[in-house]
């Protein structure tokens, strides 16, 4: 009669595992999230980079470009970063939770999506 005893143990283990998945990973909210973007020869790297952050956490964007571009941050509200040839650094925070994407406007491409949790 091991089965009746095994089932509750499995159930509890499953619930614990679920609880473990559900709780958010520990993040230091003061450490900035950094993102490095290169625009070269008409191509943007990276493409589709996935990041996580929390509301108010500083996000630092380093852009090295050989051309003029505009990076759009699709957040609430929208933000735009003007890029000229050279290396630039932008710092911003996201204040409304959601999945926020960063796009190159002129060269073209979704560079990253940042899942910003409350």
């Amino acid at each position: 009669m091991t089965l009746p005893r095994t089932l509750p143990v499995l159930a509890v283990a499953g619930l614990l595992a679920l609880g473990g998945c559900a709780s958010d990973p520990v993040v230091d909210e003061d450490t900035p999230v950094s993102l490095t973007v290169t625009i070269e020869d008409g191509a943007v790297t990276p493409l589709g980079e996935a990041r996580t952050a929390t509301v108010g956490q500083p996000i630092i964007l380093r852009v090295t470009s050989d051309t003029e571009d505009e990076l759009h941050l699709h957040a609430e509200p929208e933000e735009t970063f003007a890029v000229t040839p050279g290396t630039h650094q932008f710092e911003f925070t996201v204040d409304v939770p959601g999945s926020v994407s960063l796009e190159s406007h002129h060269v073209g491409g979704t560079i990253a999506t940042i899942d910003v949790s409350p």
């Binding site: 008409g42 957040a75 609430e76 994407s101 073209g108 409350p118």
Partner: protein, 456 residues
């Protein structure tokens, strides 16, 4: 870090963030329930057809019918619809482009998404609010013609196909065209829709709006799932026109079947799935590398993806609906159309889950922006100074529960609607096996929808 005021190309034409992914365990839980409930319906539900659009329902007081059918109500709602359209046109033609212009939001959020809850709660009131119906009515009055009939009879074999094509054009504009948020795009649609609607109405009469007008047909499909209907939808005597409240699934069973009905639901479901799919890491890290940097290729790949999603949803449904024994080949050919209404709850649930925050939060932003269409400091309703509330986004777990709940509810209603229609149409020996393929396809749609809420 200066907010851009012009020429912003934005997702969905209106920009802003999208929802956080639904946690995996919520999606898994929803999927498990969907599977379990589906088999329970198959095994335990009634064996004689129950859902009847002519079931008596509960009659509402006579004044409701008088108010709903009153000429004064129709005039008031028509004037309201035309006035709102005119106000949006002010913003589209005279306002500054950029985030303070409410015209794109009015089009992609208030009209496209707002139609769904409006029709679900109030029934097909769009038939009275529709600006093209109202303008057509006014034109008919000026020309002393009967608005019900046109110059020609609407060709019966077209069925819903013109509406399906119009819906496809709309979702292509929103999800695949080069610049959905540009005011030029909104202007083309606004003028094109009004001109096509009024001319179509004059040419073919009321049938045009019931079969060819994309927004009217979308609204009518969702309204079929509302709790309100007429006592006998097929008859026009005053007694039969009485407004009643009845089981929404009984109303849904009365959705008029016609050519192209599968195409309409496939466009609605497939396009929403495509919208989610373009947010997945697979699309962004793989597919995107094929077209990034080339606007022409971007439009080409997105258009192909959109068509593929719609085609796949439609083809799988047609095959599954036909997968039964005991029917003649003629009957079998009719089965997909006869069963298409059962996808409407699935569409409504998934669209609701996908666009809930979009409607609530971007809807607020749109209304605030619309207070001042010409950037002259107007604020007739005193809402121009308000800030949108992001309460829903700030409670992502509640939002996830709502979204999974909407998908699951739509799925269960869809399976029940399909079950009832199958036992009405199929010979007794094939009642269970005949609906099995369709039910599994519905489970597949729902799994995919939940997966996309998690991954997109």
């Amino acid at each position: 870090m200066t907010p851009s005021r012009n020429d912003v190309v934005v997702a969905h034409g209106i920009g802003g963030s999208t929802d956080l992914p639904v946690p995996l365990e919520y999606a898994m839980l929803g999927a498990t329930w969907a599977l379990a409930i589906s088999f329970a319906v198959l095994a335990l539900a009634w064996r004689r057809p129950k859902l009847d659009p002519r079931s008596p329902g509960a009659a509402l007081p006579p004044w409701v019918t008088r108010a709903v059918d009153g000429a004064a109500t129709h005039t008031a709602l028509g004037v309201l619809g035309v006035a709102i359209t005119g106000w949006v046109a002010l913003a589209a033609f005279g306002g500054e482009p950029g985030p303070t212009n409410g015209a794109p939001g009015a089009f992609y959020v208030l009209l496209w998404v707002g139609l769904v809850p409006l029709s679900l709660v109030c029934g097909h009131v769009w038939a009275y609010v529709s600006p093209v119906r109202a303008l057509h009515h006014a034109a008919c009055r000026a020309l002393r013609r009967d608005p019900a009939t046109g110059v020609w009879t609407y060709p019966e074999r077209l069925g819903y196909w013109p509406a399906a094509l119009g819906l496809l054009a709309f979702v292509w504009t929103e999800l695949a065209s080069p610049d959905p948020g540009a005011l030029t795009t909104i202007r083309v649609w606004l003028v094109g829709y009004v001109v096509a609607g009024v001319l179509g109405g004059l040419a073919f009469g009321r049938r045009w709006f019931e079969r060819a007008d994309p927004f009217d047909v979308y609204a009518a499909f969702v309204a079929a799932l509302s709790p309100f209907g007429r006592r006998d939808p097929a008859s026009s005597t005053p007694q039969a026109r009485r407004v009643v409240a009845r089981n929404p699934l009984s109303n849904l069973a009365g959705l008029p079947v016609d050519h192209g009905i599968v195409a309409v639901v496939a466009v609605l479901l497939g396009s929403t799935a495509f919208d989610s799919a373009t947010g997945t890491s697979w699309w962004l890290t793989e597919v995107q590398t094929w077209y990034a940097g080339s606007p022409v290729l971007a439009v080409a790949y997105r258009s192909l993806g959109l068509l593929a999603a719609i085609g796949a949803v439609g083809a799988v449904f047609v095959l599954a609906a036909r997968a039964t024994g005991g029917v003649t080949s003629v009957q079998r050919r009719e089965l997909p159309s006869e069963l298409a209404h059962s996808l409407v709850p699935i569409v409504v649930g998934y669209v609701g889950a996908h666009y809930l925050t979009y409607l609530v939060e971007k809807g607020q932003r749109t209304l605030i922006a619309l207070a001042d269409p010409l950037d002259r400091g107007w604020d007739p309703l005193g809402i121009g100074g308000l800030a949108p509330s992001y309460w829903l986004s700030e409670h992502p777990h509640l939002l996830a529960v709502l979204k999974v709940g909407l998908v699951l509810t739509g799925h269960v209603l869809g399976v029940i609607a399909a079950h009832d229609r199958c036992i009405r149409l199929l010979p007794r020996a094939h009642h269970l096996t005949g609906q099995l393929a369709l039910m599994l396809v519905m489970v597949g749609y729902t799994f995919l929808g939940l997966f996309l809420l998690f991954a997109g």
